[in-house]
């Protein structure tokens, strides 16, 4: 299906044609708009609706009774019950929301102090005496949301009940499908296209009309973006696709206004790449730009006076057309006659190749890379150095070094307690120079010796392999490798090597730097005793890495860092500041095990190197008069020159988030349009992102992405056009930055996230809800209906999860925390939403199309459709069953869980366990059909990730902690008693949010100034 349309707003967009083929009426969801939810259960306490959710037929009653494979034990349910009863969700009419003197937190029996905490349950976890289905869901559970009885019966237009199921109902896959009349909670599973369906084709500008108002397709779903005059969501997403007209309206809406840029994202199969506009041959001039605001040519430029003049749609300035860009206009429609040849007037994204010296700060050079590999004990004995070196070697041998054919060069530094440099000029024999002075490091060899073209670098790699016996560590000469790790010094040396030319540095370390510059003390590592302590540990120990990163960014150098360690503590919080400050990415692999994690490191490295697209880049975002740029977040170098952001190196994964601020009333109708029709964009805002950069071949280029969101004065429009992915991403980035900077304790950050969520929903409830629905129901805007569950997921993720009290389940080490926070602050929207609400699919029974490729239908897209993924299921432990097998992907990890009754043969068909670890069999003989399809699914997921390579297999009841510590925490809809307050189940969280909204309603009602906005919203 295409964008999930809101028929009330979009008006004419028909429902997707193929929905009928699915077993479940998918469109039912599509027609649904706003959701309402009764707050109080109508049933008396003690009767639950939840338990009525039918159990999957596959889970036989007997099995359930014998061993409930669930995460929530008896105690959990009890506490839910007790907690709910205490909050007082008994009857909406009686008590719509708690009295102000009884705030949520002060409830007499908060969750955290449940009489029957998880750990001390008298009924042991999984005890057969309390069968899962029998008593838990039997009668104790209070009614929660979505009971049919709570629905508003005559809903206002634009409102829909919770009734539509959230994932397609399939005859053979009844998992989680609601029973008749059983409503479900809004989940990302609901917005997925049906398994095996054709990818949606998303036109950035609908034919013959102004750019759309609805949000683009969800980033985590497959779609084909077509640039029909405006930039596709592949490159740029706005948090709201209708821009509030002025700042007070924006302040009221409370949805963060901003955009998420992934300017160098690779096109999906079937998508056209960004088109080139080559200016190097056309007289050497630059691109057509407005002489007033310097905005670049875009489809919004309107040519007048037979093409002699044009109006800039950003600032409204009337410019004389320079002679080199002169072209007459067609008097009939005002379009330039050369429009068919001038991509910049036709498409939202173009890539100029410039020859004009104005765009060169220095002579552009082909990319230069430096790889720093840890060959100390922490790198050699764990096998990390071997993987790192092999990865680089494989890239070189495959001739896949970015810019390799146009003069790109690579230099390699290895380090233990000293630094080792390799001079690759010699014939066959490389020469090594050791720099033992790591407190004052330097690069001892000249650039022509250090940097080598790929073919020569291969011999250097071989030399390193031999020197450290990387292929056979038992042959290591000269005793055990030194334990000292001079990572900081190695990076300083890399900085010196690249100081004049800029470039990309990849650091691979197996441990904490222990000698020389940037040496770190082991200040943490044990259990984190308090929040203040954790805050201190998340702050860097020394400003060394932050400063170094900033200095490198100034020199147009960016660092990616891979920490793959067996050490319990590597102070990732300090180390990861280096990639963060230099616009790179950081990866942390704890409990590194060469046998299974080798491919992960390899993939991370290979993708990081291969993914480099732009060097020496500078990003500038311009917007229509009335809008200005605010805070930048994401992966770029810290130093900002006024409004230009230095991004030393950008790649396919580079993300930048940018806040937009109002600078008065937004002025539109400045330019007009050149493409669709003279008036097509006339009322639209223009937001343009220009990136001046050097491409891999050493050419200077400017990539320009332009969008034309409409301006609105209707508050509801902002909600209708809100882009969940961008909103979540903006919120997460901001929260992650606050936590990582160490300025806020985590609980404050969590609180801010919850509060912001509640506030957005409150605004919607207050200003956009039809007056008629003045009830106590929880009302969610259709576009943001997943916001609560996303935020809940983030709160329960390793980035923000509170440390469990007294239990090991879900403990997050400071290192993992830091890595997750860095990930959040630099991840793409699709990564963030996946991180927030992991994708869990059932593998033991597959949909009809799942795991199979689909041939092109109707000849488009020519490549056909990718392997279809099974529909995902809610992240709740109640679906776990002995004979089931699940795959869950949270963007950082891919876990495979299987119950005790799963066929070991199937596992062995999927995985090769001969080496003692689970290795995915890929395309091997002897796989059954199911195993082959499962392998295909896993492979498809892995291929779509730049950092994931490996399936962590977590069998039920596994003793290695994979299930307990990695799998179960991902089931975010479950209640986690150990996490105290934040251990809310999904339903509880909605309750919390609802309570806050109602609190606000109570308070804000008295505030007069909001009245005005209410009026504004309904004008």
């Amino acid at each position: 299906m295409s964008r999930y349309p809101d028929p009330n707003y979009g008006g004419s967009i028909p429902n997707p044609p193929q929905q009928g083929s699915m077993g479940a009426p998918y469109g039912q969801n599509a027609v649904g708009t706003d959701m309402t939810m009764a707050q109080p259960p109508m049933q008396p306490q003690g009767t639950s609706l939840l338990h009525q959710r039918p159990l999957p037929p596959g889970a036989s009653a007997g099995a359930q009774q014998q061993q409930p494979p669930m995460y929530q034990p008896q105690a959990d349910v009890n506490s839910i019950a007790s907690g709910m009863s205490n909050i007082g969700l008994q009857d909406s009419s009686a008590q719509p929301y708690p009295a102000p003197d009884q705030p949520y937190g002060a409830s007499t029996q908060p969750y955290g102090t449940s009489t029957q905490p998880y750990g001390s349950s008298t009924q042991p976890y999984g005890a057969p005496a309390q069968p899962y289905g029998a008593s838990d869901y039997g009668g104790q559970q209070p009614a929660a949301y979505g009971a049919p009885a709570t629905y508003q019966q005559g809903q206002a237009p634009g409102m829909s009940s919770l009734e539509p199921q959230m994932y397609p109902q399939q005859p053979q896959e009844p998992l989680g499908s609601p029973g008749v009349g059983e409503p479900a909670l809004p989940r990302p599973t609901a917005i997925e296209p049906a398994c095996g369906s054709k990818r949606e084709v998303y036109n950035s500008v609908a034919d013959g009309s102004a750019p759309g108002v609805g949000p683009p397709p969800a980033s985590r779903n497959d779609f084909i973006g077509v640039d029909t005059g405006s930039c596709t969501p592949r490159f740029m997403r706005l948090t709201v696709n209708s821009i509030p007209a002025d700042s007070s309206m924006q302040a009221t809406s409370s949805i963060p206004l901003g955009l998420i840029l992934t300017p160098f994202a690779d096109p999906d199969p079937g998508e056209a790449g960004v088109l080139d506009v080559d200016l190097t041959t056309a007289g050497g001039g630059g691109p057509l730009r407005c002489s007033s605001c310097n905005g670049y040519a875009n489809p919004g430029f309107r040519f007048v006076d037979s093409g002699n003049k044009f109006h800039c749609n950003l600032c409204g300035h009337e410019n004389d057309t320079p002679s080199e860009h002169m072209c007459a206009t067609n008097p009939a429609n005002g379009l330039r006659l050369d429009i068919d040849y001038r991509h910049e007037f036709r498409y939202g994204s173009v890539d100029y190749v410039v020859g004009n010296k104005d765009y060169f700060a220095t002579d552009p050079t082909p990319p230069h890379f430096v790889v720093c590999v840890d060959v100390s004990a922490s790198g050699i004995s764990t096998g990390l150095a071997t993987v790192a070196v092999q990865s680089v070697q494989s890239i070189l041998e495959a001739n896949a070094l970015p810019g390799g054919s146009s003069g790109a060069k690579i230099g390699i530094i290895t380090f233990d307690q000293s630094l080792h440099f390799y001079d690759g000029r010699g014939d066959g024999q490389a020469r090594v120079q050791y720099v033992p002075d790591t407190s004052d490091p330097f690069i001892p060899i000249g650039p022509e010796a250090f940097f080598q073209p790929p073919e020569r670098a291969i011999s250097v790699i071989e030399m390193i392999s031999n020197a450290f016996s990387l292929m056979d560590p038992s042959q290591l000469k000269g005793g055990p490798p030194p334990s000292g790790n001079a990572l900081g010094a190695a990076v300083v040396a890399a900085k010196q090597a690249l100081a004049d030319i800029g470039g990309k540095v990849f650091v691979v370390t197996g441990g904490i730097p222990s000698v020389g510059s940037g040496k770190l003390e082991r200040r943490g590592g044990g259990s984190v005793s308090s929040e203040e302590r954790e805050k201190a540990l998340l702050k860097d120990e020394t400003p060394f890495y932050d400063d170094l990163g900033s200095q490198m960014a100034e020199l147009q150098i960016s660092v990616d860092m891979v920490i793959a360690t067996q050490q319990p503590y590597v102070d990732a919080a300090s180390l990861l500041r280096l990639p963060r400050a230099s616009g790179g990415r950081g990866f942390l692999l704890t409990n590194f095990d060469y046998r299974k994690d080798d491919v992960s490191v390899r993939k991370i490295l290979v993708n990081a190197i291969w993914g480099v697209r732009a060097l020496d880049a500078m990003v500038k975002v311009r917007a229509s008069k009335g809008l200005e740029t605010g805070e930048y977040m994401g992966s770029f170098g810290r130093p900002q020159r006024r409004n230009d952001v230095i991004a030393p190196v950008m790649g396919v994964d580079s993300v930048m988030a940018l806040e937009l601020k109002h600078d008065g009333q937004i002025q539109t109708n400045l330019g007009g349009g050149s493409m669709i029709s003279a008036s097509a964009f006339s009322n639209n805002v223009c937001i343009q992102c220009a990136i001046l950069y050097t491409d891999l071949a050493g050419r200077r280029r400017i990539r320009v992405h332009t969008m034309f969101p409409p301006k609105t004065t209707v508050l509801q429009d902002t909600f209708r056009s809100a882009d969940l992915d961008a909103v979540v991403a903006m919120m997460c980035m901001r929260a992650a930055n606050a936590a990582f900077s160490g300025s806020r304790v985590l609980s404050k950050v969590r609180e801010a996230l919850i509060e912001k969520t509640a506030h957005i929903l409150f605004v919607y409830r207050k200003f956009c809800n039809p007056p008629k629905s003045q009830s106590t129901k929880l009302v969610l805007p259709e576009t943001l209906k997943l916001l609560p569950v996303m935020i809940l997921g983030i709160l329960k993720s390793s980035a923000f999860r509170p440390q469990p009290s007294g239990q090991n389940l879900g403990v997050v080490s400071t290192d993992e925390r830091a890595a997750a926070l860095l990930f959040l602050s630099t991840a793409r929207p699709q990564d963030i939403t996946t991180f927030a609400y992991p994708r869990m699919v059932l593998l033991s029974q597959l949909d009809e199309f799942a795991g199979l490729p689909r041939a092109p239908q109707d000849g488009f897209p020519p490549e056909g459709e990718p392997i279809a993924l099974p529909a995902s299921v809610p992240l709740s432990s109640e679906f776990l069953a002995d004979e089931r097998m699940f795959l869950v992907d949270n963007g950082l990890r891919l876990l495979l869980w299987y119950g005790k009754a799963c066929s070991p043969e199937l596992i062995q068909e999927i995985f090769d366990m001969s080496t003692g670890v689970y290795r995915l069999r890929l395309g091997e003989e002897g796989q059954g059909e199911l195993a082959m399809r499962i392998s295909a699914i896993i492979t498809r997921i892995l291929e779509s990730k730049s950092n994931l390579t490996q399936v962590i297999v977590a069998p039920a009841g596994s003793s290695d902690g994979a299930e307990q510590n990695q799998y179960l925490p991902l089931l975010i809809e479950d209640k986690n008693i150990a996490l105290a307050q934040s251990g809310w189940s999904y339903k509880e969280f909605l309750k919390v949010a609802h309570r806050r909204i109602m609190d606000k309603m109570a308070q804000e009602r008295a505030q007069k100034d909001f009245q005005a906005w209410e009026m504004l919203g309904y004008q």
């Binding site: 000293s418 024999q429 490389a430 120079q433 720099v435 001892p444």
Partner: protein, 755 residues
């Protein structure tokens, strides 16, 4: 008296053999009472090595010598130095007047001490890579040649430097590896040891039962037999310093740090064993604490005038820096040799203490490709007939003397070991004094020390006829073959009563005296602030003449005895020499020249002060000629040997003949023979000399003639040109010898009259 014969016996040359009895008389005699001593001189009449420990006096530690009286009956021997009585040790029980051990017969003997062998000597090569590719290639070839010359068990290490210092791994490696240290950083010795892991003492790597190098340093220090391939590969791979040099700049060079690293390498692993740091420098240090000049070419290297007027901003700091290296090397007993190959100065003046105090050599030439470097370098590593290097290591020299005299100091390539004793003068210090033992980090057969003494007898003390003064030199060192040696020279000399001036006068060795005074004057000018050395020299000469010359009524009646007749001329030439005149000489040249004056034997030192001139012509056999411009004759060829260079100078007519090619005509074979004779002689001189002398061919009135004219007495200059007509003349304001002598006679006479 034939002083050379005496020198052949003990390697000793005294300024005077007979000394006045009292301090007062000694002072009046003006000349220093001192000896030129060549400890390792190859002596014809020395007995074979004595393979046992020497016997020493219990009281004054003097070793048993021929002047000891033996009383075989009482089994005692009397020490002539302290009159102590010592029992004859059991191994000498057979001793009798007609059965004496060698040390009782020969005044100079050498013991080979029965001790475990020292490890083979180590050489750390320090190679400057901031030179042109061609130069570097030649330097590398020379290094290859060097390691092919030295015995294969010799231990070598290679340190190359430019902007940074590379210490190359020669052991346990299958690839070319080096450790790099920052060139512009002042590492302490401890830093270097830590960074290079030199301090780690692992299992001792034993090679042939000899090597004692510890694990950490064995990576860098390896016997040639083990590492020749590696050494060669490293050298082959060694490139010019890769760091770009800007158009108007010098390369970044860290001579100081490189030396410091090399010294540290040896300090930590080879302390107490023979080792040399051999530095091949191509230019001045420009960035480290030893920096002597700025990077910019516009900043010229300091001159003597700059240093004097304190216009040399880096001078003091650099001297201080190199002094610390010298001190470290001396403490470890290691030598630093500097081969500088640059058209410009390289800062030898600042680093002179590194070479002078450690017994090293300076060799300078314009380029690595210049024969002066190549030949000198080869000679340096040449082995002797036994296949061993011609040098000793870790030496020390102790002087014993009888009570009437005390030791005033030693001048030479030595460092003080600060060992005081009763025989050390408290009042005067000539050269390195305040000790009776000096360290000679290395020494070779030409190393010659000058030892100065003070007569301390009071004038009133009774003089007894036939009393002798005794001086014993005990030199211990490691021979290149690994054995520990001890050479003992004992000398007895006569006293004479103070009034008997003739005896003293007749025993003066004017050559030795001149060299001793020259060394002393150089010492004074270098170590005493604002010292006017020429006035001091003049005064000394006048006093000496007034003491020893005979005077008449007229000036012409002034005469000196035969054995002193040349002394004024030596002084005249010394005054004009590069040792005391710094005008027209760079500080580096000065350091270089003075270093040789202080280490060569009497003969060579005198040659430096007053070159020899031999005249060749058709009519007579070659004959020494006056060092005077009047010796230039159109039909003669002159051969001038100044030690540092050798000039063959053709008279005007001979030059014309040669240019006309007559010598190629068989008819004029005699001319050919005449042309070749001085060249052959020059070649044979140069062949034997270290450092390899610069060879110059010059024609009268040619540009190269200036080298000759600078050394000649300007008896004909434009002051008196008219009197002599068409002769060659020297354009100078300097006084000629005649003028000098006239003034001297006058002054001496006045001095006599005044006293």
């Amino acid at each position: 008296m034939n002083f050379s014969e005496l020198e052949e016996r003990d390697g000793l040359r005294w300024s005077a053999l007979i000394w006045p009895w009292s301090r007062l008389e000694a002072t009046r005699s003006v000349i220093p009472f001192a000896a030129m001593y060549t400890p390792l001189k190859n002596l014809q009449n020395m007995p074979p090595l004595l393979r046992y420990e020497p016997v020493n006096c219990k009281t004054c530690t003097t070793l048993l010598n021929p002047y000891c009286r033996i009383d075989p009956n009482q089994k005692i021997w009397m020490c002539p130095f302290c009159s102590g009585r010592n029992p004859i040790p059991p191994q000498y029980s057979e001793i009798a007047q007609n059965n004496l051990p060698a040390e009782q017969i020969f005044t100079t003997v050498e013991y080979m001490l029965p001790r475990p062998m020292a490890p083979p000597p180590a050489f750390v090569f320090v190679l400057d890579t901031c030179v042109s590719d061609a130069e570097l290639r030649v330097a590398k070839e020379s290094l290859m040649k060097a390691i092919s010359l030295v015995p294969p068990e010799t231990i070598v290490a290679l340190v190359s430097f430019g902007k940074n210092v590379n210490v190359h791994v020669l052991g346990f490696t299958d690839s070319v590896k080096s450790y790099v240290l920052r060139g512009d950083k002042d590492y302490t010795s401890q830093n270097i040891k830590d960074l290079l892991n030199l301090g780690i003492i692992g299992s001792q790597a034993v090679q042939g039962g000899q090597s004692v190098a510890v694990q950490g340093a064995t990576r860098f220090l390896q016997p040639i037999s083990e590492c020749e391939f590696m050494f060669t590969s490293v050298l082959e791979d060694l490139d010019k310093d890769p760091w770009p040099v800007k158009q108007n700049q010098r390369p970044k060079r860290c001579n100081y740090t490189a030396l410091s690293v090399a010294v540290a390498l040896l300090e930590s692993s080879y302390q107490g064993y023979g080792a040399r740091v051999v530095a091949l420098l191509g230019g001045p240090p420009t960035q480290d604490p030893g920096k002597v000049v700025k990077l910019e070419l516009g900043d010229t290297l300091r001159s003597h005038a700059d240093i004097e007027r304190d216009y040399a901003p880096f001078y003091r700091k650099a001297v201080k820096a190199f002094d610390t290296i010298a001190t470290r090397a001396v403490n470890a007993g290691h030598t630093i040799d500097v081969f500088s190959c640059s058209l410009d100065q390289v800062g030898l003046y600042e680093m002179r203490s590194c070479v002078d105090r450690t017994g090293g050599y300076f060799v300078t030439s314009e380029a690595f490709s210049h024969p002066m470097f190549k030949k000198s370098f080869e000679m340096f590593f040449k082995s002797n007939a036994e296949g061993k290097l011609n040098m000793g290591f870790q030496g020390s020299m102790e002087i014993h003397c009888s009570r009437e005299i005390k030791i005033a100091g030693v001048i030479g390539p030595v460092a003080s070991m600060n060992k005081s004793g009763n025989n050390v003068s408290q009042e005067v210090e000539y050269g390195i004094g305040g000790t009776n033992t000096w360290r000679l980090c290395s020494l070779d057969p030409s190393t010659t020390l000058s030892a100065y003494f003070e007569v301390v007898n009071q004038h009133s003390s009774a003089f007894r006829e036939g009393q002798y003064r005794y001086v014993q030199f005990v030199t211990k060192y490691q021979h290149a073959d690994g054995t520990y040696r001890c050479r003992v020279s004992t000398n007895a000399g006569l006293w004479t009563e103070g009034s008997n001036i003739n005896q003293v006068r007749s025993s003066i060795d004017q050559e030795a005296a001149a060299v001793l005074v020259a060394r002393l004057s150089v010492w004074k000018t270098e170590n005493e602030e604002a010292f006017d050395i020429l006035r001091w020299l003049d005064r000394k000469l006048i006093h000496m003449c007034s003491r020893f010359a005979t005077f008449g009524e007229t000036k012409e009646a002034f005469s000196l005895p035969v054995n002193l007749s040349l002394y004024p001329q030596f002084m005249f030439n010394l005054r004009r020499s590069q040792f005391l005149q710094v005008f027209n000489y760079s500080p580096d040249e000065t350091a270089y020249y003075r270093s040789y004056l202080n280490r060569e034997n009497t003969e060579n030192a005198l040659l430096m002060i007053q070159p020899t001139l031999i005249s060749y012509n058709m009519s007579s056999p070659p004959a020494p000629a006056l060092l005077d411009v009047s010796s230039i004759k159109p039909d003669s060829i002159l051969l001038l040997d100044t030690f540092f260079y050798v000039i063959v100078f053709c008279g005007e007519r001979i030059a014309q003949w040669r240019k006309a090619g007559y010598h190629e005509d068989p008819q004029y074979a005699a001319l050919k023979a005449l042309l070749e004779a001085p060249k052959d002689d020059a070649a044979s001189i140069i062949e034997e000399r270290f450092p390899y002398s610069r060879y110059i061919e010059a024609d009268e009135k040619g540009s190269q003639a200036r080298f000759l004219l600078a050394k000649l007495n300007p008896s004909i200059s434009y002051n008196n040109e008219e009197q002599v007509g068409q002769q060659s003349l020297i354009y100078t304001d300097d006084a000629s010898l005649q003028v000098f002598m006239d003034a001297l006679k006058e002054q001496a006479q006045q001095s006599v009259q005044n006293s």
